[in-house]
């Protein structure tokens, strides 16, 4: 029996081994241009047989097997190459291999240009640390973006005036959901800071024009933020300054699976106003509070669900001097924002992102006869799919549906020159409700038309609003050429549509049939990365506006006969100087005109800030000390001067008579901010102590004029930081 077993085993073993023959694989691996490639891993797939190429690109190894095999050549930075080989009688297999350099699929921002991001491959880099350390920026994303070219210094508020566009023409998106009111302390002059905590950002992307067709119902700019995923450790930070206090935390519930990040802030401006001698202006000191929580569950290796909630409120009471009336402006607002975000990878190359969001903003403004409550509710659902078809081709597509309702309740003055409590008034109880649905598809391609270094993108989107029976299409495209890894030139073109602000759809004083506004963007962009961390960009752009809402003296109140344009150039140089200096210098030129809203004639727009220079420099004195400087210089904002007045006897008030639309210009804007930071260890906790001086030379920046009763004399209204302001604070990592 033993003999039988041995016999059978011998036969089996012989049959297996006899079928397997020893082969020698040899050859040379080169690049497309014939250059020998050393260190390439050449091996038979699913076997341990292989070798690394020598300095001259040659390889040689033996393999024992039979049938068909796959020879693999792989090296970081090159396309993996697989060759199918049938093993026959010939035992020496000569196989030369050519590897193609891998081209990483560029992201849409690279293709489209005009963007700033925290990711190097997306162009000029703006990192959260830049936001934290920009002097005078109060660690606020909007204030930092205002130092970038293309965002004009129209006011000191946080609103983004992008290349001649109104702040409403720039959208802020958080994890795929639109946040229409991201500001605190909004007034008719705009908000001062954002409600978004920079510490919560994982990625941010800002585009000032020519952006992807995935962004709809927006004319001028996009700020797209992705929040951080689940925390990897539990930690807390505490900060306090003369203007605010905050307490933030990362709490890890289940390692790499479930965690919460929260950010809470309360601002109390009394100490800073007291110290800087501005307390008397306020009857109720501007205060705000904000709590943001982000609960993230990672349910699989690739899938995540994230629930974000933000609750914020603010109030302020400030003395206002007007020609006809001195009173107190009382403003308060509440913002609620909830977003359920889901992301996952569906198959090897398809990424899905879903978002379901609710956003409510409610404010109340009171000044004399003005007593208006505004409620703005938005429900929104959105899905995006990104499909990396190959390393050279990517398809992006998505769908969104949004219902937005604005409700105005209260009284507004009948004439804007009379705000007295007993003035003529209009009672409002208006609702504007609009449901919009949109979809888009976009293709990005490298090696366009088979030409190396040529890349492009083309997208189309459509939006439909049943309430105004309107459907529109946007076509956007761009093409670029990379001269080398560091230098590229791009051209972008596209149409953009956006519905006018909902207030203009109100039946009482608006027009429910207004059509969307339209802009056509043309952008030429030249990027050059001088070296690691140093980048230079110059862009030329032109925008044509059509269908802008324009006030008309008929029953329909507004029509779409407005139009305009914006032409300009933006330049930025960002980088380091030695080991100690870093920062950026930016310059923006713009010429823009509009005929819209209540403009009497085609004139310079309110946002025509002809020249603007920002210079941000940070000097690391030592590991413990850092000093930063922020210098801004901008042309004054256009305004319409008052040239006289008519006395209205029935109301006992003077009506101002104006010169040509925006024919005047406020004085140039200048501001120097300095910040000194000291990094230290207090009670074992990492601590940053800082002192910041804003408008250190006390330059008299103004954002308007107030007039005497009959408009015969005028005096300046100083801007928020029109006086030197000093803030002292600290931040501690607990």
């Amino acid at each position: 029996m033993k003999k039988l077993i041995l016999f059978i085993m011998l036969i089996l073993v012989t049959s297996f081994t006899s079928a397997q023959q020893m082969y020698t694989f040899q050859g040379c691996v080169t690049t497309e241009d014939g250059r020998a490639l050393p260190f390439v891993n050449v091996f038979v797939k699913q076997s341990l047989s292989g070798a690394m190429t020598e300095d001259d690109g040659t390889y040689s190894f033996t393999f024992k097997g039979n049938g068909e095999v796959v020879l693999v050549a792989s090296m970081v930075g090159y396309e993996r190459k697989e060759v199918q080989i049938v093993l026959e009688e010939r035992t020496v297999i000569d196989m030369d291999i050519v590897l193609i350099e891998k081209v990483v699929l560029l992201k849409e921002a690279v293709v489209m240009g005009s963007s700033f991001s925290d990711e190097e491959e997306k162009g000029v880099v703006v990192k959260p640390m830049d936001v934290y350390t920009t002097p005078g920026g109060a660690a606020d994303i909007f204030q930092t973006l205002k130092t970038m070219p293309g965002v004009t210094q129209v006011s000191e508020g946080a609103e983004l005036y992008v290349r001649g566009g109104h702040p409403n023409e720039t959208i802020t998106m958080v994890d795929g959901a639109a946040l229409y009111h991201p500001m605190t302390l909004e007034s008719s002059y705009g908000g001062i800071f954002s409600n978004l905590n920079t510490g919560s950002f994982e990625n941010m992307f800002f585009s000032s024009g020519g952006f992807s067709s995935k962004y709809g119902n927006v004319l001028s700019g996009v700020l797209d933020i992705e929040t951080k995923n689940e925390p990897q450790q539990t930690k807390f930070t505490f900060g306090i300054s003369m203007a605010s206090t905050d307490f933030n935390g990362d709490v890890e519930f289940i390692k790499n699976t479930l965690g919460l990040r929260f950010y809470s802030q309360k601002s109390f401006t009394e100490p800073i106003m007291w110290m800087n001698g501005q307390k008397d202006r306020f009857t109720s000191m501007p205060t705000s509070q904000n709590f943001t929580g982000i609960l993230t569950a990672k349910y699989s290796k690739t899938g995540r669900i994230k629930l974000m909630g933000m609750i914020a409120s603010d109030k302020q009471g400030v003395e206002v001097e007007r020609a006809e009336y001195n009173g107190i402006f009382d403003g308060k607002s509440v913002t609620n924002f909830f977003n359920l975000r889901h992301t996952d990878i569906l198959s090897e190359n398809i990424l899905i992102k879903n978002s379901l969001a609710f956003h409510r903003y409610k404010n109340n403004w009171k000044l004399g006869v003005l007593d208006l409550e505004k409620t703005d509710d938005t429900y929104r659902i959105r899905t995006d799919l990104e499909w990396g078809i190959s390393n050279e081709l990517r398809l992006t597509s998505g769908f969104e549906a949004e219902n937005r309702e604005e409700h105005y309740l209260g009284t507004i003055p009948g004439e804007d020159y009379n705000m007295r409590p007993d003035a003529e008034k209009t009672v409002l109880d208006d609702r504007a409700n609009v449901t919009r649905m949109g979809g888009y598809v976009e293709l990005e391609k490298l090696r366009l038309f088979g030409i190396d270094n040529l890349f492009g993108a083309a997208g189309v989107r459509t939006d439909y609003v049943a309430d105004i029976s309107s459907q529109w299409y946007d076509v956007r495209s761009s093409v670029g050429y990379s001269f080398n890894k560091y230098t590229s030139l791009r051209f972008g073109w596209g149409t953009f549509h956006q519905m006018p602000e909902l207030r203009l759809y109100a039946p009482t004083d608006g027009n429910p049939d207004l059509k969307p506004m339209q802009a056509i963007h043309y952008v030429v962009s030249f990027d050059h990365q001088i070296s690691d961390g140093h980048s230079f960009r110059v862009e030329l752009y032109h925008k044509d506006y059509e269908n802008l809402p324009r006030e008309v003296d008929t029953d329909i109140n507004y029509d779409n006969s407005g139009y305009g344009f914006a032409t300009g150039a933006d330049v930025i140089l960002k980088g380091r100087l030695g080991a100690s200096f870093d920062g950026w210098i930016s310059y923006g030129y713009i010429h823009t005109k509009r005929l819209w809203k209540d403009y009497e004639e085609y004139a310079k727009s309110d946002y025509d800030i002809t020249h603007q220079v920002s210079f941000i420099m940070k000097y690391h004195i030592s590991a413990m000390w850092e000093i930063g400087m922020n210098f801004k210089l901008a042309s004054g904002r256009p305004y319409t001067p008052v040239v006289g007045s008519d006395y209205i006897e029935s109301a006992n008030v003077y009506e101002p008579l104006y010169a040509s639309e925006n024919s005047g210009r406020y004085p140039d804007y200048k501001r120097y901010d300095v910040r000194l930071s000291h990094y230290n260890q207090i009670f074992d906790y990492f601590t940053v102590l800082y002192v910041e001086a804003m408008n250190i030379f006390d330059h008299n920046n103004i954002f308007g004029y107030t007039y005497s009763n009959d408009y015969s004399k005028r005096s300046d209204i100083r801007s928020y930081f029109g006086s030197r302001t000093i803030v002292v604070g600290m931040m501690m990592n607990l």
Binding site: I5, L12, F39, F43, L48, M624, Y679, N733
Partner: protein, 264 residues
């Protein structure tokens, strides 16, 4: 009758093994051990060529068995070593090429009972490389380095490698932010003690790090003014590996220079 069953069983096993084309585990292990050796040599000689060779072999192993924890570990280890090379001024591109891969593969081992502690060590080391690549991350990521190292110790209190990175962090962090040369020295000594008193039976198990420890220990002594002790430690390292590049070409000459300038 019994013998027929036995023959049937043997035949079936041989046929199944043949059909599945199963590689003898020893051959895979052999390749892993080869990777391990090349990794060691690459560190000793500061040779990126040897590292590339190690990476090529472990990638072949990965193509055969992508779930083998030791294959994943040494793949992650190679990727981490590439990050170390990215500190060379002309190799900075390596950082972007390998950072995500290293993190991804180290993450895969967090749930593996045998290698979870080592995975935490790697994550601690990778986080240090992130800080080295971008010093502004120091404020936010330092805690993470300690956290991973502490988790590694909690998972295996005989593992000396977490102490290497604790020593490195404590040595490289400015004093004002919690850096402490004496504490760094203590960490290195703890690591050394563990290296000398505990060995892992499985030859595939990571055992690198003793040379690293000696380098950090010598530097800590040097900073504390114990130059002679530092010299002895460096000599000890060179006795173990006479071509240990870090000590032979950087730390020792630096120390000699110090000794010369102090004697002058």
């Amino acid at each position: 009758m019994k013998s027929k069953w036995f023959i049937g069983l043997v035949v079936s096993l041989v046929v199944i093994a043949g059909l599945l084309n199963i590689y003898p585990q020893s051959e895979l292990d052999e390749q892993i051990l080869k990777t391990k050796q090349l990794l060691h040599e690459s560190f000793v000689y500061h040779s990126d060529g040897k590292l590339k060779e190690a990476y090529a072999i472990i990638n072949r192993c990965y193509s055969v068995d992508s779930e083998n924890p030791y294959v994943i570990y040494y793949k992650a280890m190679c990727e981490y070593r590439f990050l170390e090379f990215s500190l060379d001024p002309d190799k900075s591109d390596l950082f972007d090429e390998y950072i995500d891969l290293a993190e991804e593969h180290a993450d895969l081992l967090l749930e593996n009972e045998e290698l979870a502690s080592e995975a935490n060590v790697l994550l601690s080391a990778i986080t240090i490389m992130k800080i080295a690549n971008n010093s502004t991350l120091g404020m936010t990521h330092s805690g993470l380095v300690y956290q991973y190292a502490e988790d590694a110790i909690e998972l295996d209190d005989k593992n000396p490698r977490p102490y290497i990175f604790l020593a490195s962090m404590l040595y490289n962090t400015p004093e004002m932010f919690g850096g402490d040369a004496l504490e760094s020295l203590n960490m290195s000594q703890t690591a050394l003690h563990l290296f000398e008193n505990h060995t892992y039976e499985n030859p595939l198990h990571p055992d690198w790090g003793k040379l690293d420890v000696l380098a950090w220990l010598g530097q800590a002594y040097n900073r504390l003014g114990e130059i002679e002790k530092a010299k002895t430690i460096y000599e000890q390292a060179l006795e173990m590996e006479p071509e240990f590049a870090w000590v032979k070409y950087a730390l020792m000459p630096q120390l000699q220079q110090q000794l010369e300038s102090s004697s002058n």
